[in-house]
Symmetry: C2
Subunit: 403 residues, 2 copies
């Protein structure tokens, strides 16, 4: 544990009772609890009925967002609080009846074949913590109101995955076939009848370099992966936007070119304002450096003037996050925050905190992260039709009122 | 992620179908799932009804044990799977209605006073992962059948806590008063009427040196601490046996001597066989180096001959765990296991794994950990009346049958 907390001002030490202490200006921090007791407006869908409804905003049956007030400070996001974004409804829960019997078809290796999950488990074991984030997280801050779910900060979490490194599986099957440049994963959702499968299938390609860290995961946060999060088997591509982490993965192919599925060719493209999506535009792949403050937050009760622990999360995508600065004046001045809690590796987020004295008034709290490569979280978002990749520190700032 | 996995034997690479691959000897690993579907024999108590009953053995309403088969490989133990051991029934759930209003009385500092949880939250923030383990974990392996719950391995978990460092609170109140040698925490359980409080109160003392790492925690695994685990406020003493981590802590006193409560003076003493407990015997304080294998395990389906990932957990108490060896022949020979997943700090456990080829037959699998100070997990338990502190690697070995 770190010992970098500043000393309390002397005046906090002298009052004789708890009441006097409060009068002397020690802020309270009850907003999270208050917000957590707000009931969700819509009910949770059946496949996610086990989740914490007070922690989630139900946008639709396929889009559940973690409330900003529900993010704690324990680094890992509990499964019950983790967001859900499905491009298609999940398969029938019957696929979990015998998890080890799930079959993955592997192509684009020297010896292509099917492997059951039971067989995959014998090939290796690794555990990695990653930020799982929808590329549309922060879309709700775009004034252009892009179509799609208006997520603010809650389409993200930090999750512990266990599985077999994909490179171990490729090695066991003789290695990646010559000429392959992509890892293409196909989801096991049931496709609607009477429609071109390519127009609807969840199939994404990531560059072959992702093989270094990719995992075929069967466990999430200490339990078999729930259906809502892609169990029995999910492709995890650490550092990449959520859509690339294929749920219910049934086919894993090393391919020479990107998938022709619409979700790859035209979906999730970073399309300039006014343009139409096309495959020449960047896809949502690696995440970029980003941070936001979770406490205090705007939808809580007014703060009392005094000391407060400002805290939030920061991550660097495929780079470790190195530094976080916090501003209490909307970005005019910045102070370096401290990291709180264990470092779970470069693909995880880190909790940061800054002890600040907030006087009565309105304050705009912002955070700005820097990754190990020196990339600094920008002030402005990059406008695009789909509302992807919003890392703007200004958009993520929180206005709080102190009584 | 590590890249220390051995290559697959060549014979695994040649077969052309999944069936042939299985025939070639890739072991499967389905026991955990099978065991997890076994229903608990007794129902969960109301205060813990939110827990995963398939993951727990219900010994009594105050003693719930995690099944060996339910421990995954994701380092952190999910709250739904975490064991419970209460010395008294928890207080009424009404204590959680306004968590920030919970009052802690602090004594033995220069300026003793009451502080609310809301005030504590303004004083600091730290997050630490610790092994939480009942000192009686492993009691079930004692042939002497000590009284008390016959835990085997499941009265333990690795948990992420957030709270304020106790030393920050002491500093804010002028520092620890002169002459104090212990940190004494008192639980907020309701005591039965008509009985000497000292005979029943949950009050424990730990040496003052524990101040370096102790935490007053309000969050566990990313959510406010549930009642079952000591919410709204729990004293966490990293590296110390579970009983020292006082739930619903209502009084925190720096004291010149140990508590006179019976749970301290006579309870949880390491009493030699045939003797009676007395305060001169060692109390259960720091944990010692320990490990065990969670998979494969004895209560699963028979394994198929071939490769298997043997994995488990290892920790060093107040020292980091440095090394784990695994034996597949009951301790005759040992191989060094690899660590799996992130290092959450010296108070957390680490997952270890060894890739082994198990032929048909019966095998006794054992693990033996070494901590950073060079202490090696012993072969034999230390006999004592209460069945405490069992770290014997032989007791924790797992016999498996391979078809």
């Amino acid at each position: 544990m770190q010992d970098t907390l500043p000393s309390l001002p002397r005046r906090h030490l002298l009052a004789g009772t708890a009441g006097a202490l409060a009068a002397a200006g020690l802020g309270t921090w009850s907003q999270a609890a208050a917000a957590q007791t707000q009931a969700a407006a819509k009910p949770l869908p059946a496949y996610a009925a086990w989740k914490s409804d007070s922690s989630l905003i139900v946008h639709s049956s396929n889009t559940l967002e973690t409330r900003r007030s529900a993010f704690g400070s324990s680094v890992i996001t509990p499964s019950e609080q983790l967001y859900v974004r499905n491009n298609l409804p999940p398969p029938d829960a019957a696929v979990l009846a015998d998890r080890d019997a799930w079959v993955l078809t592997i192509e684009g290796v020297q010896h292509p074949r099917d492997l059951t999950l039971g067989q995959l488990k014998s090939l290796g074991l690794e555990t990695v913590a990653t930020v799982l984030q929808c590329s549309g997280n922060g879309r709700g801050f775009f004034p252009s109101k892009p179509s799609g779910t208006p997520w603010t900060v809650g389409a993200a979490g930090c999750v512990m995955w266990s599985g077999v490194p994909l490179r171990r599986v490729a090695e066991a099957l003789g290695g990646v076939a010559d000429g392959m440049a992509y890892i293409t994963g196909t989801g096991g959702e049931k496709l609607p009848e009477g429609i071109d499968p390519k127009s609807i299938v969840v199939e994404r390609s990531v560059p072959l370099k992702a093989l270094e860290d990719a995992l075929l995961a069967w466990e999430m946060n200490g339990a078999p992966i729930p259906l809502a999060h892609g169990g029995p088997l999910r492709l995890i591509v650490p550092g990449y936007q959520g859509v690339n982490n294929i749920k219910y993965v049934k086919r894993l192919a090393f391919t020479a070119s990107e998938s022709q599925a619409k979700i790859m060719s035209h979906g999730y493209r970073v399309t300039p304002p006014g343009a139409k999506a096309d495959p020449s535009q960047p896809s949502v792949l690696e995440m970029s450096v980003k941070s936001w403050i979770n406490s205090p937050h705007a939808d809580g009760a007014p703060l009392t003037a005094g000391m407060v622990q400002i805290h939030g999360v920061a991550f660097g995508g495929t780079e470790a996050v190195k530094r976080v600065e916090v501003s209490t004046d909307g970005g005019k001045t910045w102070r370096e925050a401290r990291f709180v809690g264990p470092d779970l590796g470069k693909f995880a987020w880190r909790q940061f905190a800054l002890t600040a004295e907030l006087p009565a008034g309105t304050h705009l709290l912002a955070s700005r992260a820097t990754d190990a490569a020196g990339n600094v979280q920008p002030e402005a978002r990059v406008e695009n039709v789909g509302g992807y990749n919003n890392t703007s520190w200004r958009d993520h700032a929180v206005q709080v009122t102190v009584a």
